[in-house]
């Protein structure tokens, strides 16, 4: 199954600033997914990123707040813009594991704290 390298692993940021999270996959994948996990909560899908097209955002998430880039089939970035303490969460990228479908593989996660 695919292996995803996600960074940074964690960061503490000032409110009003932006953070870009990167995910690098060891194989080409069509779709990449970005999730948010707020403290004590489950995972919520932010958006789906296809290479060569605009990301598709879920209800409650907008491109101005969470711009996504997908320049090729192995890489994607998620930016958390104009951060507030409510953005403190774990952010995870995910891809389809492929090879007959054995679930979705997740990156190692980014723990973001906004102060």
């Amino acid at each position: 199954s695919a292996v995803i390298s996600q960074k940074p692993s964690r960061d503490i940021c000032q409110r009003g600033t932006s953070l870009t999270i990167q995910c690098q996959v060891d194989s080409q994948v069509t779709m990449m997914f970005w999730y948010r996990q707020q403290p004590g909560q489950s995972l919520t899908l932010i958006a789906t990123a296809n290479q060569g097209s605009e990301a598709t955002y879920e209800s409650g998430f907008v491109i101005d707040k969470f711009p996504i880039s997908r320049p090729n089939l192995t890489f994607s970035t998620l930016t958390v813009s104009n951060m507030s303490p409510e953005d403190s969460s774990i952010y995870l990228c995910s891809v389809d594991s492929g090879q007959g479908f054995n679930g979705y593989t997740f990156g190692s996660g980014t723990r973001l704290t906004v102060v």
């Binding site: 909560q41 489950s42 995972l43 919520t44 774990i90 679930g103 990156g107 996660g109």
Partner: protein, 111 residues
Amino acid sequence: EDKVVQSPLSLVVHEGDTVTLNCSYEVTNFRSLLWYKQEKKAPTFLFMLTSSGIEKKSGRLSSILDKKELFSILNITATQTGDSAVYLCAVEIQGAQKLVFGQGTRLTINP
């Protein structure tokens, strides 16, 4: 609205006990149900279930799906302290390649 509900939300047992975690769902277009174990940040894949009544097994863990009653269970026998984690249930929506997650069950195994 697609919904996945897990119970219990929290469970504390002693090492060696057997536990059963529950997951029920109401979704528009079901493709599969997945179980994950989350110890720190990244969920790790346990099982994917697509057909009713067929048990998936991996060591001390097993899971089964009931598509008529819209639920799944995850069993862990002879629990060990290393089983302590949050167990997540997710349903994949057909056509959307989208996962809808339940709230998770926080399992604590005491020695």
